[in-house]
Symmetry: none
Amino acid sequence: MSPRSQIQNEKIRSESTGKILEAAFRLMVKDGYESTSISQIAKEAGVSKGLMYNYFRSKEELLNALIKKTIRDGEKIMGNIYSENPAVTLENVFRWFFNELRNNLSEWRFVSEIMLKADKYPFVKEIITIKMSEYMKFFSDLLTKLGFKNPESEAYIIGGLMDGIGFACLVVGEEYPIDEMEKYIIDKYCKN
Amino acid sequence: MSPRSQIQNEKIRSESTGKILEAAFRLMVKDGYESTSISQIAKEAGVSKGLMYNYFRSKEELLNALIKKTIRDGEKIMGNIYSENPAVTLENVFRWFFNELRNNLSEWRFVSEIMLKADKYPFVKEIITIKMSEYMKFFSDLLTKLGFKNPESEAYIIGGLMDGIGFACLVVGEEYPIDEMEKYIIDKYCKN
Amino acid sequence: MSPRSQIQNEKIRSESTGKILEAAFRLMVKDGYESTSISQIAKEAGVSKGLMYNYFRSKEELLNALIKKTIRDGEKIMGNIYSENPAVTLENVFRWFFNELRNNLSEWRFVSEIMLKADKYPFVKEIITIKMSEYMKFFSDLLTKLGFKNPESEAYIIGGLMDGIGFACLVVGEEYPIDEMEKYIIDKYCKN
Amino acid sequence: MSPRSQIQNEKIRSESTGKILEAAFRLMVKDGYESTSISQIAKEAGVSKGLMYNYFRSKEELLNALIKKTIRDGEKIMGNIYSENPAVTLENVFRWFFNELRNNLSEWRFVSEIMLKADKYPFVKEIITIKMSEYMKFFSDLLTKLGFKNPESEAYIIGGLMDGIGFACLVVGEEYPIDEMEKYIIDKYCKN
DNA sequence: TATGAATGAGACTTCATTCAT
DNA sequence: AATGAATGAAGTCTCATTCAT
């Protein structure tokens, strides 16, 4: 009789977009952005191709939404990492980072793939530039508190290091001495 | 109508493969591997599509050959970098590296793109794993000579740092403080 | 929760269909029948897609209703054109016609587009055949009163002329010598 | 062994493009431009969809080629129409025109449909504007020789008339008094 | 009466690859 | 060794229409 209420619709919409984004994330993390087709995502999400275009105007916009969701999820995690003691905070960051590499390497690959597309998709560049400067500020503050002489440059070192180690893990996988590196870096930055 | 001699054929072959590989490199560096089509490469190389399949069984094999050639070219450059003084050698490496980022960032992007495909294309993983251990050995030896306490771990740090800084440059481009980082890293590793 | 009365319902129905038909007309005049989607019409009309299918079983039937409405609207205008003096009536027709071309060319395009679909949509053919014979009768009577020798054939000439001039205006637009033609035709048919 | 000669290739190409253009013409004349799909054309022409894009970069470019070919074909016919006696030439034009309406009405519809798209496809407008002015010149010259007082305006009348009559035939089909109109118009313009 | 989420067929297009010559 | 015409699977996207509420 009467149409669905706004609340009902909102629920339906968020469930569907949720299913789609999750399916997209799963597949793109596994196969990469370009290699994942809209059809596959629709099938994985259990919806029709048409519905996807109901919620996301294009594959690119789906990527956009996916990135934003991923960043939001990431920020929730960052909340749990903070400690009163800056050395502990930094250690938590490193431990979290290496655990990510150990457990969610595919996600790392996806993020890397997307970052490499910064040139092709302007919104990627925009988002990442912002996030990057946030992270640099975060590390820089931490390192200042820890008494480092060049906290800014050292922040860039840490950022680069993390990207680079992630990258190396992606490429050589099991061969990377991940445990040793974790210990070495934590010792170097947090233990003194 | 006499048949071509083996030597003539060999020359023709190497000229054609050369043209093709150079064209492929140029285009893939510019647009990426996936976005570069066989047709474009053939046109850029001035040969027919058919001929490409005469020399390379598939696009993937062309990539394989391209990687090997790129590595060979890279090795020639590494020869000019070596000095009697290990600190100077290391500084040369860093200077070469930052200049690459400044002048040939696109090539760096291409290499990164390919490395991320290590999972998809086994030969990529194989080649890179070998090269990586070579580089690690090279840095490790250098750092040993320079008196570093943990030359192996530190070598991984340097390797990661380079990957990571390259990555960051790719993503944020002009915003990256490349000159400062060059100075900071050279000071840190080579000046004392 | 008392049910709406029949009268209320009737009013609602006619308001909704009115809004839909007007929106459809506006958009189809602008973009053409095929290029106007049901979604666009619904949005322009401020109703839901579902409601459209409540009133019109298909896009084709919407077109049908639109044509009928357009013809009804046209007939109202024709009422204002009639004069005691047949020469004046004919001149009024011509002046109205050329002003339509000057001011509402898009509508003319839409009508032409639809007429060309007569084969595809039988109801179009049916409606137009009836209207055409009415117009021919109208012109024929007028020309008889004006003393033309072959009023029937001449009526067909006038009808064809109007279609053809409208068509030419659509195609070449500004380049068509619309003012000269108006004067020439009025002189020819109404001035003597 | 050796690749095909240029001549062989040229022949193959022109055969294929010929097949494609003919199939496209057949289908578009029957169903209209928009309603004819690339797939249908490929099937009708007995080639693959891919091949179509080998020869025509897009559906729009196929239309472009089709229009040009149609105009070329039309010009060949116009050659046979010319006579020393201008009255005879004009009569030939009218007879040819009415025969077209009798025998190839579908083609007329196609041409009309395309002309209505002049706004959407700039190349259509360009081509048609040129052709139109050629025809107007042709008629104007003829009418001058025949001693008409306002040959230019009268040329526009004739052009419009032909478009309009064609249009009417398309719409009402069999009901149109085509034979009477032919006689009437020829009498009016050619029998002094 | 009214909504809008959902569907699925079908549109245009790209591209690695094959093969007759 | 070399050509380029031909293929067909797969991709992204649109849209009229249905249906639960």
